[in-house]
């Protein structure tokens, strides 16, 4: 308490100082990425300040689990920073609707982003954008290259090859074919259903049709991924029912498992732990030559506090965040968090480079449940976790799961009624 009073007092004097000289403006960034504090302090902020004398930037993160609550109370009290790191979809939309985030549509730099990239921080009708997209994460499979070489397996591109490869690993017996557990539930949905699913529902086409009510969760393209997940059960390690997310990470990085259904955010963590070579392959398509779709999920953005005292400086900073220069610094410092700007960024990490290269080969989409559809009760995203687990364990048939999710969604979402 005393310390925060002290820093308040300091901030007070800083304010007085700035108004006296009317030169140095200090912008404060609210964020949940406390892991990235050194990155901001050592690389991003100095790069910005060097180009924009007169604007000082301060990165002040809070703990991820507390961020939403802390931010809300700061915004209500009027003590929040000038720039606000945005969670995707409804959490930020609620802030915009409550008048806490400024509309950024008149910012020229927003043209650097595709519609999919901006979709996470727009009103439902796309009429207003309120955060600059910073980074996304891509789903796919990371594999142990040494293990694949040892067993003479080619990287699979179709589903038939994928399961043939898993069979080979299983028969050999020296590796667990795939490292994933169902204890924490979310991996089954995020790295399972929403990883392989876009190939079935054709990415954006299916996702938007579902939002419009033109497709249903009982349609074959939405049920089929559950049928595929049902086959996964046999390739996961013994007792996968009680295997947690860290367990799976450890199994893979210790070299005990050959394939890891992944999100690209794992890259930097894995790089530090593995002593074998890693590769990645995208979700396998059903037939050779099919168009591939990847989940390129918008995860983090940054917006402007509508009540900031320095809107011009804040906009200058946001335009810079939208620039290729920021994208290059950010993308290389955090391999696996891929910048969203339309200008391609040269990444150095080989694994990250491989994964981001899929953007050129495949159609991008985001997780099907994140936009609009998880707004009501029952919550579609949470239900999808349970359904994906049930599919893998085989406790319900894919058709039953589709029906249950559809009933839940239809109970509150008008276009699906």
């Amino acid at each position: 308490m005393k310390r925060s009073l002290f820093s308040l007092a300091l901030a007070g004097t800083a304010l007085v100082a700035t108004s006296a000289y009317a030169e140095d403006v200090t912008l404060t960034i609210e964020s949940w990425r406390n892991d990235d504090l050194t990155l901001w302090q050592d690389k991003i902020i100095p790069a910005f300040e060097a180009e924009h004398p007169g604007i000082k930037v301060k990165f002040s993160p809070s703990a991820p689990a507390e961020y939403n609550a802390v931010l809300n109370s700061k915004l209500d009290a009027g003590s929040a920073g000038d720039l606000i790191t945005c969670r995707p979809f409804d959490a930020s939309l609620a802030l915009f609707e409550a008048g806490h985030l400024a509309d950024l549509d008149d910012m020229e730099a927003m043209g650097n982003f595709s519609d999919v990239a901006k979709s996470a921080w727009q009103t439902d009708d796309g009429s207003a954008s309120f955060c600059v997209p910073m980074a996304s994460v891509i789903h796919g499979f990371i594999y142990n290259k040494d293990a694949f070489a040892e067993l003479g397996i080619e990287v699979p591109t179709t589903e038939a090859e994928f399961f043939a490869a898993l069979d080979t690993i299983k028969e050999d017996g020296s590796y667990i074919p795939m490292a994933m557990g169902t204890n924490d539930q979310w991996e089954a949905a995020t790295m399972g259903y929403n990883n392989i699913g876009p190939n079935y529902w054709k990415g954006e086409e299916g996702r938007l049709a579902l939002i419009k009510g033109e497709q249903k969760l009982t349609d074959p393209q939405w049920v089929a991924p559950y049928a595929t997940l049902a086959k996964w059960g046999g390739y996961l390690g013994d007792g996968y029912e009680a295997q947690t997310y860290p367990d799976s990470q450890n199994l893979f990085t210790l070299g005990r498992a050959a394939v890891y259904p992944a999100g690209s955010w794992e890259i930097s963590g894995f790089n530090a732990l593995v002593d074998f070579e890693m590769g990645a392959f995208k979700p396998p398509v059903q037939n050779a030559g099919d168009t591939c779709y990847i989940s390129d999920h918008t995860d983090i953005g940054i917006g402007m506090n509508a009540k900031t005292a320095n809107p011009d400086a804040a906009k200058t900073f946001l335009s810079w965040v939208a620039s290729p220069e920021f994208a290059s610094i950010f993308g290389n410092a955090l391999p696996g968090f891929f910048p969203l700007s339309s200008t391609p960024v040269e990444l150095e990490d080989p694994l990250a480079k491989e994964i981001v290269g899929w953007r050129g080969e495949c159609e991008s989409t985001i997780r099907s449940t994140y936009q609009i559809l998880s707004r009501g009760t029952p919550n579609l995203e949470n239900d999808t976790w349970g359904a994906s687990v049930a599919a893998i364990k085989g406790t319900s048939s894919p058709e039953e799961l589709g029906q249950k999710l559809q009933d839940g969604l239809a109970s509150w979402y008008a276009p699906q009624q």
């Binding site: 409804d90 609707e97 390690g237 009680a242 295997q243 009760t377 949470n382 349970g386 364990k393 109970s411």
Partner: protein, 304 residues
Amino acid sequence: MQKPRIRWHIAVFLAPAVLVYTAVMIFPLFNTLRLSLFSKIDQERVYVGLQNFQTLFGDPIWSEQFWNALGNNFWFFLIHMLVQNPIGIALAAILSHPRLRFAALYRSAIFIPTILSFVIVGFAWKLILSPIWGIAPSMLDAVGLKSLFAPWLGKEEYALTTLALISVWQFVGIPMMLIYAALLSIPEEVLEAGEIDGITGMSAFWKIKLPLILPSIGIISILTFVGNFNAFDLIYAAQGALAGPAFSTDILGTFMYRTFFGFQLQLGDPHMGSAIAGAMFAIILVGVCIYLFGIQTRMRRYQL
């Protein structure tokens, strides 16, 4: 006639406790109950009467979760009553045996888990039972019973019972201590008188000690009831807010938490959360009343 003096010191001495208790217990309790009568419509808090309760019990999506959580809660309580309390009483009876050596050591060892944090207990047991790194599979393997091992925490049919037994392991020290204290307070003369009448050994326990510790057992039962129906921590630490697998370990506490604070993409709904908290309060109140008026008043007490 002298006017009775106002005894200010009573108010002064009561004040700190009353104020603190009101601020941190009574006010939040009533405020939660008040909150459950409101709802948020278009950024405004609106009074909706009992509509939240109507949703909770009338809407199949909500009521199904509520009854599932309540059923699980009863199972959780039942395991504690059937396992924790009898074991606690048995341990106390053994510990109070005058010829037992190292009694103090056993007493402390059994009581220590009680003072551990739920997070530590949940984490440690998750590791012990882990099919990958855990010692449970290899210990069973060592005695040739590997086939009995299952990933208990991950199976719908075992997970809740496993967690209840972990909780029993953690808290068995409390009934043990309370019963132990009650047993020690039984005067030697009563037992000696019984011996003269030929009541020794086991029958002394059943016929003399047990009736004398019945009030303590009643207190333990009610403490277990309140503790179990307020439980949340262990399930949350071991299984997360979704109380997996497939909500098989969901109890009222985790259901309330998930609703009140939100989870993942689900935004928190303090008003429905308060309604659930109100229902929990009512259930506990009814349980305690049944005990107080139905059982405790009829219990026979013996003047020692």
